[in-house]
């Protein structure tokens, strides 16, 4: 019996969501009175791998082979399920990241495991094993009982706190065979804006809607986001009109996010928009229409013209930063 976490890396580095996942795994391992192992695939330094012990891992299986530099859902799923078998894992945890979404379902099939995707808190473990996930695109939550011996869970980013318990992990090199049949899908190019905070992982998000009138007015949104260290998002009509890229579209048919702060400017708060952002911890709405439905779903609101309010916020933020640095 054990809990196994897949620690995904981005170009050899771990992101915060990995520490969240390991902390989550440690809490589950404690509930089940068992150990936590981690599997890593690709090129991560031994120092970084051993440091995963800080979050509760006792053992790190390192499948560090040049062959696995690029993400490959078939090969990676095969390595993770092999690790689950050798570690005798009954719970396998994977981030609900874009890569995780391609991996976890495959791992579940390989292990004949039940699978809850997008968990948002610790499972209830008693006579049964129940995982809480989002459902109906942010409009509800489902409590899913996982009945099989082996269970696969993917955890949403920003859903569990990073907890440092101390310790270092033993790093063990593993050679995992994956056949050529797993390498049919070939990565040709990776295009990544490294200077930007990625939206699904962001703790703070500044978002703009049609009320901003046109793409030329996003300068102030970006400036505010930069000052806050926030990611930028937008409503659907904004990405449909190509004012902003599709990857920024949040809502029922965009990405669902749960940052600590969601600051919406010139967004009416349609039900489909709210669906994707309503689990944000704190919601701020800036809209010139006091009747905008978004105010009903907000913690703080300013009824006013964005073109007057946002510059004032930028001023105030600059002062705030100067005072707190």
């Amino acid at each position: 019996m054990s809990v196994l976490v897949y620690a995904e890396n981005t170009g050899g580095q771990f992101k915060k969501s990995v520490y969240e996942l390991i902390s989550y795994g440690k809490a589950i391992a404690d509930l089940l009175k068992t150990n936590l192992s981690v599997v890593s695939i690709g090129n991560v330094s031994d120092v970084d791998l051993a440091a995963l012990g800080k979050y509760g891992a006792t053992k790190v299986l390192n499948c560090g082979n040049e062959k696995f530099k690029d993400f490959n859902s078939q090969a990676f799923a095969s390595i993770i399920s092999n690790a689950a078998t050798t570690e005798n894992a009954d719970v396998v945890l994977i981030s609900n990241s874009f890569a995780g979404k391609g991996l976890a379902p495959r791992v579940a099939i390989k292990l004949k495991a039940s699978f809850a995707s997008g968990a948002i808190e610790l499972p209830e473990i008693g006579e049964s094993f129940i995982v809480k996930t989002g459902a109906y695109s942010g409009k509800a939550f489902a409590h899913i009982e996982l009945k099989s011996d082996v269970k696969v869970i993917s955890l949403n980013p920003n859903s569990y706190k990073v907890i440092e318990t101390g310790g270092t992990a033993e790093v063990v090199k593993v050679e995992s065979y994956t056949g050529d049949e797993h390498f049919k899908c070939v990565v040709k190019e990776i295009v990544r804006a490294t200077d930007k905070i990625s939206l699904p992982d962001a703790e703070l998000v500044v978002s703009g809607g049609r009320g901003l009138k046109g793409p030329e007015n996003w300068g102030m949104i970006e400036e505010m986001a930069n000052l806050l260290g926030a990611a930028t998002a937008c409503s659907k009509p904004v990405s449909d009109a190509d004012w902003r890229p599709h990857s920024e579209h949040v809502g029922q048919t965009g990405i669902a996010i749960s940052p600590n702060l969601y600051l919406a400017v010139g967004i009416s708060g349609a039900i489909q928009h709210l669906a994707g952002v309503s689990s944000s911890k704190c919601i701020v709405v800036i809209n010139k229409d006091a009747e905008a439905p978004f105010f009903k779903a907000a913690d703080y609101g300013i009824v006013g013209d964005a073109f007057e309010v946002v510059p004032k916020l930028i001023e105030a933020l600059k002062k705030f930063k100067a005072a707190h640095n």
């Binding site: 579940a108 040709k188 703070l204 599709h246 990857s247 702060l261 039900i271």
Partner: protein, 258 residues
């Protein structure tokens, strides 16, 4: 793999399978019955899952002007037939309904993989997730069951011969992959604009083939015990626009988010 047929102009005639899920309209206010264990479908309008509409639109674009075919498949009871007919009206060639309630992602993927094994499609498109369970499980599960490659969140898809080039969504960007037939992809925004059926489509949909198949047996691995809905937020705290800067202070000292 199927041997590809070419039409008169020497173009490949593709055979595409598109998975269609039947979901509540996006404006639906969600509620539950039977002790919060079942979705309350009373008065709810059902639609084709928006991402599946994108997948269908792209598949139709790819076969346009060729003798290729687009088959839509849905796992559902008879109540989903209007949704399937709508997909036929939009332009699908024919349809399959696997007659069973779609219990979970594994159940649905197993049914679709069983049909795909029989029928040899060049590739399979689905939506990146359904807007009811949001599992996003089905595309990669089908691929794993068939032992073929997949891209779960595909923003762009083009075909050259028997190879697709797909933009896979990654945090903060995209990864461009090359993937040979057969494969599975989950369509995301940007791949195509959903198509609206025209009158001719609606008329012809009535007579297009819709085959009903019985489901294969699948182990029950999991079960939804109950649902709940998010707690409503307290009263919004309004800040005067003349004093907008106060917001920053509140976010720091009261909400403690900055």
């Amino acid at each position: 793999m199927r041997t590809l047929k070419k039409n008169k102009r020497g173009k490949i005639t593709m055979k595409i399978l598109v998975c269609i899920s039947h979901v509540p309209d996006t404006t639906t206010k969600i509620s539950f019955i039977e002790n919060n264990s079942k979705f309350n479908a009373a008065g709810v309008q059902f639609i084709i899952n928006p991402y599946d509409e994108i997948a269908l639109a792209r598949a139709l674009e790819l076969i346009e002007g060729t003798e290729g075919t687009v088959t839509v498949i849905n796992v559902g009871d008879i109540s989903t037939e209007p949704t399937i007919r709508k997909a036929l009206a939009i332009g699908a060639t024919d349809a399959i309904r696997v007659n069973a309630a779609p219990r979970d992602g594994y159940f649905v993927a197993t049914q679709i993989a069983a049909i795909a094994k029989e029928m040899n499609f060049d590739f399979i498109l689905a939506g990146r997730e359904s807007i009811d369970y949001n599992g996003g499980q089905v595309p990669a599960m089908i691929a794993e069951l068939l032992g073929i490659p997949s891209v779960s969140i595909a923003k762009k898809l083009t075909i050259e011969g028997t190879t697709a080039t797909i933009d896979r969504e990654i945090e903060g960007g995209k990864e461009i992959v090359s993937i040979p037939f057969p494969f599975v992809a989950g369509a995301s925004e940007g791949m195509a604009e959903p198509k609206i059926p025209n009158m001719r489509g609606i008329m012809s949909a009535r007579t297009k083939p819709l085959v009903v198949k019985e489901a294969v047996a699948v182990d029950l691995l999991q079960e939804i015990k109950s649902y709940d809905t998010p707690k409503p937020r307290g009263q919004v705290k309004l800040i005067s626009p003349d004093n907008a800067g106060e917001l920053i202070e509140l976010l720091h000292s009261e909400a403690k988010v900055i």
